[in-house]
Amino acid sequence: MSTAVEVVSVSKTFRLFQEKYTSLKEKAIHLGKVPHEVFPALSDISFEVEQGVTLGLLGHNGSGKSTLLKCIAGILTPSAGEIRIRGRIAAMLELGAGFHPDLSGRANIYLNAALMGLSRKEVDARFDAIVEFSELGGFIDNQVKFYSSGMYARLGFAVAVNMDPDILLVDEVLAVGDANFQLKCLAKIREFQEEGRTIIFVSHSPDLVRAVCSTAFVLDHGRLVGQGPTAEAVALLQKFQLSGSGLNHDPSTEDHRLEAAISRDIHISSMMINGVDADRGVELAAMSQVELAVVIEDVASAAGACHVEVLFYSPAGVALIRAHTREMEMEPIIVRGTVEAVVQFSSLPLAVGSYSIQVNLYHPQSGMMIESRRWDNGIMIVGGQKGVGGLIAAEANVFVNEVSSRHFL
């Protein structure tokens, strides 16, 4: 496997102006010397992204994650350092950036694809696929200004994913559009993952990053402060958020490398669902009672404590149910030797289908994640009423009432 993106000691400084002098008169008055502060948006960042990896970039507002993404996309030029990119890159920083409202959807597809560096011939070959994905059908020849925002977003996404990119950069764009569109986008991203394309994903939503990415980087004040499996990176981000959003926090004084910070004394050894090992997958009837017994082991044979979080995920990676002992205001679970933490749901309102379960353990004081385990398709809901589905279990009855009668002659 080779490297798709190599970032070599990249720095980016912005000049912050108290007041911007852009007219000739003002420039002349200030003789070209404009009072400004230098703001380091990125300082000396280096990393490599292997081909086929889906990388999440996490960080709170102003941490530099979008700046970094823009540098990789080539929109911003780094002040120092360089970025080596292998293959075609498609950046989705804003869906439909570059659409001209007066042009038809068709003309905009060509224009947008050309902006991303495709030749006319390449667009011709992809045109039908783009229209199909956008679900615009006959509207493709209408002017874009008449489109709804959903249609606009669908067309923008359709052009970007049909560029056949080797590297896809996604910045918070999945927040637009309805649930259907989001699921479709996620499905496309999963398809890209299976095909071995590289994806760099920026999002504020840790759930989304957890659902999509295999590894994640955490940025704080323009520095790379942590990297690791997504669950651990999300935990680190949460820690930063707990410590006052990191706003008056100097990362150089403290070592936040995950490896050092995380206690590895406590382990999830297994989980039983209604007495059956979750590794084998468990079949349940809809709306039945469920007991998740998480077996936690203290390896260091010294009493430790932790909070437990249980999550149920839909096949599309959406967290449906979440239970967290800290947020339930429970005391931390004391682990002495081996204990079984039982999370009981009196009735599980999930519709027919298979769901994944994730169990996370958190350090009680710092809130850092200790361990995270996921059972893909660990639970399967069967039975239920025929013809009624979705994500949430329900029972439907259908009646017909006569509202007004009309006599047929």
Partner: protein, 313 residues
């Protein structure tokens, strides 16, 4: 879907991983040849942007591109009345004289003026999509060229009405003159579009400067009129150093044809210099070469300015 490497024919739609991919670099400085290679790679975008500007300009207007013909036609009519009928300048076929020079000038002016604001006006794109930004300026010059082609219809109509045939000795120089003009306009366009991001006055300054430049170019008055007076001070070279002057002269020599015709008042008027085609070739060739060097310099300066575009906009 994974593509099997041992398979005989890889599926065209299938994604092939681990194949040899071109590497490109994002770094503070790109060399001028790299920048030009990058512009060349995006040449289809140039075509699409030009097509966009033309489509959008007269969208939803009843007369459409006819407006781009009415504009020079009106200009010629007014100047014809003022200079020929009121001031009695005595130039025969004054409408054709005006049309030839104006055509070349309009190409230059609308290209440069449109390009100056091109990066600023497309800030939405510049902040969100990565592509060689020089293309925006070049697209303005490109669309000015397409409108120029439309406007040649006006000249053709005048030539037919007044039964004037283009001069066979000079008409072959017209493509070279166009190349020189486009090259010079492109160089200026790229430079100004970059500067305008930092100095927004550039747009307004250019509107005034181009007016002065228009009168420094022999479009309305004949070249000989001014050069006669400049010759006394030995300044004809300065007049010819303006690249738009030799280009306008070439157009006039090719389509207006006569250098020293009999005036409408019965005496001979000196309008165009009596240089031969080779003189024009040499001068136009020099403009092409110098403009190309200017273009390289502009691309270099643009590259230096580009690094902070996304922040300045």
């Amino acid at each position: 879907m994974k593509t099997d490497h041992s398979g005989p024919v890889p599926e065209p739609s299938g994604y092939q991983r681990d194949r040899e991919l071109p590497i490109h670099l994002v770094r503070p400085s790109m060399t001028v040849p790299q920048r030009i290679a990058n512009i060349w790679r995006y040449r289809d975008l140039l075509k699409d942007l030009v097509a966009k500007e033309i489509k959008v300009k007269y969208k939803d207007s009843a007369l459409g591109f006819i407006w781009s013909l009415l504009n020079p036609a009106m200009f010629i009519l007014i100047y014809y009345i003022v200079f020929q009928k009121i001031l009695k300048n005595g130039i025969p076929l004054f409408a054709i004289y005006l049309a030839t020079g104006l055509l070349a000038w309009n190409l230059f002016q609308s290209g440069v003026l449109g390009a100056t604001g091109s990066v600023v006006n497309n800030s939405g794109l510049v902040k969100k999509v990565s592509f060689p930004r020089e293309i925006l300026a070049l697209a303005s010059v490109g669309s000015a060229f397409i409108f120029f082609l439309f406007q040649t219809v006006v000249l053709a109509i005048f030539l037919i009405i007044f039964r004037v045939a283009p001069s066979p000795h000079f008409v072959w120089l017209v493509p070279i003159a166009l190349l020189a003009l486009l090259m010079f306009a492109s160089a200026l366009a790229v430079l100004l579009s970059g500067i305008n991001v930092y100095l927004r006055d550039m747009q307004h300054l250019m509107e005034i400067l181009l007016q002065a430049w228009f009168w420094a170019t022999p479009v309305v008055y004949p070249f000989m009129e001014l050069s006669k007076q400049l010759k006394a001070h030995g300044l004809t070279w300065l007049y010819l150093a303006n690249p738009t002057t030799p280009v306008a002269l070439t157009f006039q020599r090719a389509f207006y044809v006569k250098a020293n015709p009999l005036g409408t008042n019965g005496s001979i008027v000196h309008i165009l210099p009596s240089y031969g085609p080779m003189w024009y070739l040499a001068v136009l060739g020099t403009i092409v070469v110098l403009s190309f060097i200017f273009f390289l310099v502009s691309v270099y300066i643009f590259g230096r300015l580009e690094g902070n575009f996304a922040e300045e906009l």
